[in-house]
Every structure is written in C-alpha cells, then in structure tokens.
Amino acid sequence: MIASVLVKRAGMAIVTLFGVAVVVFLLLRVAPGDPIAMMIGAGASASDIADLRARYGLDQPLLVQFGIWLAGVLRGDFGVSISLRRDVLELLAERLPATLELAGLACTFAVVIGGAVAVLGTLLRRRKGEAVLDGVNGLLLAVPDFVWALAFVLLLGVLWPVLPLSGRMDPSVGVPFVTRFYLTESVLTGRFVIAGDIIAHMVMPVLALALPLAAVIARILKDGLSEAMVQDYVLLARVKGMSELRLVVGEALRNAVGPTLALTGVQFTFLIGGTVIVERIFAFPGIGSMAIDAVINRDLPLIQGLVLVFGALFILVNLAVDLAVVALNPRLRHG
C-alpha cells in the first residue's frame, strides 16, 4: 500500500517537473529581449546574430525548440550556456555540490536547533523561561533568511569581524580536491584545518538559512510535545519514576516528530529556495548565485538546466519527508 502511494507520488513528481520546464520555457521565449544581442553586444552585424541564433536553435518554432531541448535533456544533454560558453551539465555538476553541502548543513542545523528549543521549552513549561524562549522564537519566525544574512554580514563580518564574508574557502588554500564536496571530502580525508576554514565560511549562510526553519520546527514540535505530555502514557512513565527529560525525549518526542515533519515538510523546500539569495549575499559558489547571473544575462539553456535542478531538489526533499514520516510512524510502517 505504501509502495503504491510512493509510486503515485513519483509519477506526480515527473508531471510537476515537466510543468516546471514548460513554464520556464514559455516565460523565457515569450519574453522580449534577445539573449544573443546581449551576448555579443553592439556592433555585431545582422548576419552574425543570425548565425548565432541558428547555432543555439533560436530560429526554430517554439514547439520545435522545446522538443529539441527536452530530447537533449533526456539524453543528458542540457545544451551550452550562452553567457559562460560551457556545457550546462558540466556547470551544474561543478556548482551543485556546494549548494548541497550548504543546504544539507542548514537543514541538519535547523532540525537540531529547532528540536533542542522545543525540548527545552517543554521542560520549562509554565515557568518564566518558557515565555522568554517563545519570544525569541517568535522573532526568529518573523524574520526571513535574507534579513538574517544581511544582519550577519553587518555584525559578524564588519562590526565584529570574526568570520569570512564571502566565498567557500580561503582562496590561498591550494589543496587539490578529488570531488566538489569540499567539506565532506576534507572531513573524510582528515584535513581538519581546511575543513575548519570551509566551516568558518559556511557559518553565516548556514545560520541565515537555518534560523527561520529552526523556528518553525521549534514552534510546531513544541505544540506536538505539549500535546503528547498530557497523554496517559507519559503519566504512566512519570509514575514509573522517569526524569522529566526522559519523559520529553524518551516518551513524547517519538510521537511528536512524525506529525511535525509532515507539517514542516514544505518549509524544507523553502530552505532550498532560500539558497539562491543567501548564496548571492555571501558570494557562495553554488547553483543559487549562478542562477541569478543566468537570469540577468538571459542565459536560456543555463536557466532551464538550473530550474530543472531546483525542481528536482524540491521533489526529492518532499519525497524524503514523506518517507521519513512513514518510517517514524509504526502504524504506517506495519499497516
């Protein structure tokens, strides 16, 4: 039963991805402005432009263009970036690992912070600390990643300059890497000094992305925990003589996590979207900052490739959340 639901989800995901591709394609082709003209600038002859248009397939009818592009994508050929003059797939492969590490770390961080705040708030319930914690959480909940990122730039980058303001690592580090997952690789190969430098570069973007999500998780998880804490099974565990911490973590938490995840799932996809502007602010070399340049340069093949990657990430995150919700609920798991 669960398998069939997942198959159905996957089918819908493909429809969504296709829809995303169509929407972007239409938006870009209907739009005024010629990417070729932007590319070679003034002074190009009409025949030069026509040549280039033919080379990028822009002289074909819309439907044919879409067909050519789609056929290419299915073969693994995403075309060539107009502004960077490189293979789109290559560019994506180069940039995606940075974004994955950033988003992955931010998600982990959000879950850990949000979880800890929710547990702490539950332990402190009906005390002064709870109100303070709720107030701080409300603040985090209201202010989006963009504003946090800028605030960190100002506070931790300039006024009290303790963290590097931009990039993924110190440019003077000339160590060769086998993969593009610099952080993962440096940790796995035991190069901790370099890993430390990479982490220092990631602290601010990760925090900016993680704080709003952490606040949402904290709010919803705390509601779930409060609900669970008045259940009979917690009362019984209390009678058994379990400590308050054990009641919250050992008894209530496991029943609150699943529903919380189901309710916050969509927020994880917001975090993926948030990487675009946060990467830009910290000049973090992922697909997000590349995407902004691609749009401004009207780089059609690159934009399409990027949007497809973002769409796929969105779908994968949703799928992962669905799977986790099932895995965490014994009724669904065995039902």
Binding site: F146, L150, V276, I296, R298, V307
Partner: protein, 299 residues
Amino acid sequence: MAEIATAAPVPAAPPSRLAKTLRALVAQPKVIWGGGFILFLLLLALAAPFIAPHDPLAQDLMAGTLPPVGFAEHDAAYLLGTDDLGRDVLSRLIYGTRIALTVAVIAAVLAALVGTILGLLAGYYGGIVDTVVSRLIEIWMAFPPVLLSILVVAIMGSGVTSVIAAIAIIDWTRFARVVRAETMAQAQADYVTAARTLGFGRLAILFREILPNVAPVLLALLTLEMGIAVIVEAILSFVGLSVSSDTPTWGGMIAQGRQIIYQAWWVFAAPLAALFATVLAFNQLGDGLRRALDPVMQR
C-alpha cells in the same frame, strides 16, 4: 425567492458583531504595536516631503560618509549620517517607506485576489478544477521564489510595476493553498447545505456564505504577505532589479551600503534595521489578527 435571499445570510446584528470584533482586536497587544508601527510608517510615507530633513537625492560631496550622531566626526544636521555621495541617510530612509508600502499593499492585495479566487474555485468545485489548480500550485512551489521573481522582473524590465507583478505572480500560491483547504472544510458545513437547499446559486453561496467565513484567515494572511512583499522588493533592489537608482528604496540602500560597508556601515545598517522592524511589525499584526478574529483561537 427574493425575500429569502435578503433574509437568509448573516443572521447576527452587524453593530454588536463589529463591536465584538473591535474589542477582540484591541485586546491583542500584537495588533496594537504591530499595527501602530505600520501606521507610523504610513504617516512617514505620506508626509515624507515635510518630515525629511533633506532632499533624499541631494548630493553634497563635501559631507560624504558622515557617521550617525553620537559617533566621532558626526554632523548634527545628518541624524543617521550620510552615504558616500553625501546624501542624507535618514531622508532616504523616510522616502524609502513610500516604495516599500506601495509595493507591500498593492502586491499583497493582487496576490490575495488571484490566490483567493483560484483557491475558492478549487475548494468548492473540486474535480478537474481542483486538479488543475493543485498541479499549478505544485509546479509553482517547485521554483525557488527568489529565482522566479528575478525571472519575472528580468523579463518585464525593472520598475515598481514589474516588482509588484512579480510578487503577485509568485505568492498567489500562499493564498490559494489556505483558501482551498478552508473552502473544502466550509463547503461541508451545515449552513452551506442549508443555503443549497434554499436554492441559492453556486456563485452566490461561494461569495456570500463561504467567503465571509474564510475572511479572517485571509486577512491575517494578507498582512503577513505584506511583510513578505517588503522583503521581496528589498531582495530585487539588492540584486539591482527593482526601481531606478534615483528613487530611494531600502533594498537599493542596502545594496549600495554593501559596496561601502567598510567605509560607512550605517548606510547598510539603517535600512536593514527598518526592514527588520517592518517585517516584524507586519508579522506581529498578522499573528494578532489571526488570534483575534479566529473563533477557534478565541476559545
């Protein structure tokens, strides 16, 4: 039929209900200070020419990068200091409220309009309409919103109109999702069945029976969306895609301040603080409205 039509909807007497709602609103501290701050901003925007101590565009290169009052080498004429071109930060901040609030209100209302109509239709009619709208929402949400807004503005060209359009085009899904779910729940309710047996048309039921019940949630959502719109405008300005550079905007000031952050951090800090406070105020107001107007929350 005509008599029934005029007699049936909203049995409660309007004045007492209004009074009750107002009392509930005033009882929410979040509404008071969130709404109070927004009102303050609105006054600033309207009275900008009279309040602003300087012309926001007037350059005075002799008075460049002056720090705010209280720091060394400040000039008392420039309360929040000046930027690298000697323009008064406070005046630019005050004028910036104009774009911020214009975008916030118009974009949020447009997004609400589109989203509410689609959400109502999907939730009430179900079937193929619901499938189409739900698919659309799903597709829309698969885009990173920032990327989509930049895309729209890049296509339409920069300017306030395209910023507003971009926000409406992107954020209608927030309204559609909530309104669709609410409408689905409401459509099952007894009073809707009652209206249907009385022979009301579908559209009449939709707009006279269901919409008023969705309204409280909608109003709260609208307020939250205004806060989001202020941010999106700032993001677009920051990327360099909003309005032209001779109109002062918070996002534009932030982008400019980022360039000179080591020489004049206050050019960056002042609009950032304004953004922070505004977003917080809209958020608190929305939260307060939701608490005050939602009958379930009042219990």
